[in-house]
Amino acid sequence: MINEAEIRAAFPLLKRELHNTPIVYLDTAASSLQPQRVIDAMSHYYANSHANVHRGVYGTAEEATGLYEGARHAVGSLIGSKHPAQEIVFTKNTTESINLFVNSWGGTKLGPDDAVVISIMEHHANIVPWFVLQERIGFELRWIGVDGNGELMLDNLDELLTGAKVLSVTAMSNVLGTINPIAELAAAAHRHGAIIHVDGAQSVPHLPVDVDALDIDLMSFSSHKMLGPTGIGVLWARREILTAMPPFLTGGGMILDVRTDGFTPADGPSRFEAGTPPIAEAVGVAEAARYLKELGLDAVRDHEQALTAYALDRLFDAFGDELTVHGPRDVARRGGVISFTLGEVHAHDIAQILDSHAVCVRPGHHCAKPLMRHLGVPATARASFGVYNTTADADALVEGLRDAAKLFA
């Protein structure tokens, strides 16, 4: 169970006011807030242990190295990685993680006769890198469709996977909230001899995720969406897969040797971590992972699911047919991301009016333009919940929307 008062007290930004009204933060799908202990962990690191990692022998360099390597364990333990020291690569965000995977793995394993399967509901981060690689290599890119309920259309999955080498799909849509059946997709991919890469940007912060139980091969996610700092992301990959991947970014820290005629890359995650890594950020995301683990992802999920159910009820009660919510109505099949349109009011105007009520939602295409085209809307307003949100926040959303509806009546 989530203790609301305790949790809210842990997040300093919730004390913020906008237009003299306490902030109602409903944009966690874009970026979460950070608890004070995460902020403090980083400040403490800078003030006490900062040094560059890996090559120092003095006290603080050892501490920094221990904290940085230890962060792989904290993060790995959150997602059920059995060998975090060999499987957790730190990047700068989900987007870099996916670029790294696509270029390193895809760039060496894919040929012009191969196929890659993604879905229409992917974030641009899991679309554009494939386009760029496709231009170079020329494989076929196949799209899993989305049905009227906002769920993946899987009846032709076997067909799509025939001849495919990789399935890359999001675990939770950042627009629809849809929770995709990753275990099922992983089994299907493996049946066809393909590997599966999961975009976990929205799932890792909000659902219990166990990479072993799901039997997936790689997963990308971002610290800043899981109560951690900006500037760091994660690529988790099974050891066998990571070991076979060539470097992507290159420079210091990822080499065994450099001569004037070539270089030999290092083993393990450091092969993919060229240059000085985000050290303080690793300290921060480790603290965020510990915090999430203490809260328990089951409890986080329960809290957010109940809140989503409450919010959807209140919204439909208030606006009826004027309101269109994209994505599943069944809260067991969706996370706390509510994308909606309200009559003729444009998403941008909705967000502007809500801001005057200190309610923070995001308008736009949410970096998922293929999905928006499919939905036939140029933009939606999106309210998204974090563990620190309450039914009072959902009420504030409804009240703000009444104002918008009135202004544009």
């Binding site: 237009h19 444009h346 998403a347 941008h348 105007d349 502007q352 009016i353 005057s356 308008p363 736009g364 295409h365 333009k369 928006m372 140029p378 933009a379 202004l407 544009f408």
Partner: protein, 155 residues
């Protein structure tokens, strides 16, 4: 919330609900240009008919928020039938109004100039946008598209 009322003035809501000069001119002979705001997905399609140094006709299509659509609608009324130099000067005046805030975020080179609000007529209703920096891109979308259309049409 005073600011919000300044943003959503009645005249703006009216132009949003009932946009003027809506549609597209046949092109050719008219010149057609699309404008696009990648951040919010707003689109404006401007078709113009320039003859004898005068903007004979203009039509606006596209979709987007109340600010982008009403601003384009207001613009169409303000420039239609004017000589090209007058059109360009109206654009410049309007952009200066918007820039009075944008210069904070821009390169810092441009000094904000005083704008003669009276000369803007109905357009002055858009001055409330200046207090909402992210919406300036909405308000100027149609205007930038028109500038591009004029340039492309060699007018």
């Amino acid at each position: 919330m005073a600011d919000l009322e300044e943003l959503y003035r009645e005249i703006i809501l009216d132009h949003y609900r009932s946009p003027r000069n809506r549609g597209e001119l046949a092109s050719p002979p008219a010149h057609r240009t699309e404008g696009f705001n990648p951040l919010c997905g707003d689109e404006i399609v401007v078709t113009i008919d320039v003859l004898d140094g005068v903007l004979q006709d203009i039509k606006i299509a596209g979709q987007g928020c109340s600010i982008s659509q009403s601003s384009a609608s207001l613009m169409s009324g303000a420039v239609k039938g004017k000589s090209i130099p007058d059109v360009r000067s109206t654009i410049a005046t309007f952009k200066t109004l918007m820039l009075s805030h944008e210069s904070h975020l821009g390169d810092g080179d441009a000094e904000p100039e005083a704008v003669d609000l009276k000369s803007l007529g109905e357009l002055a209703a858009l001055q409330g946008v200046v207090k909402f920096p992210v919406r300036i891109k909405c308000a100027t979308l149609g205007w930038n598209t028109l500038t591009q259309a004029l340039d492309e049409a060699g007018a």
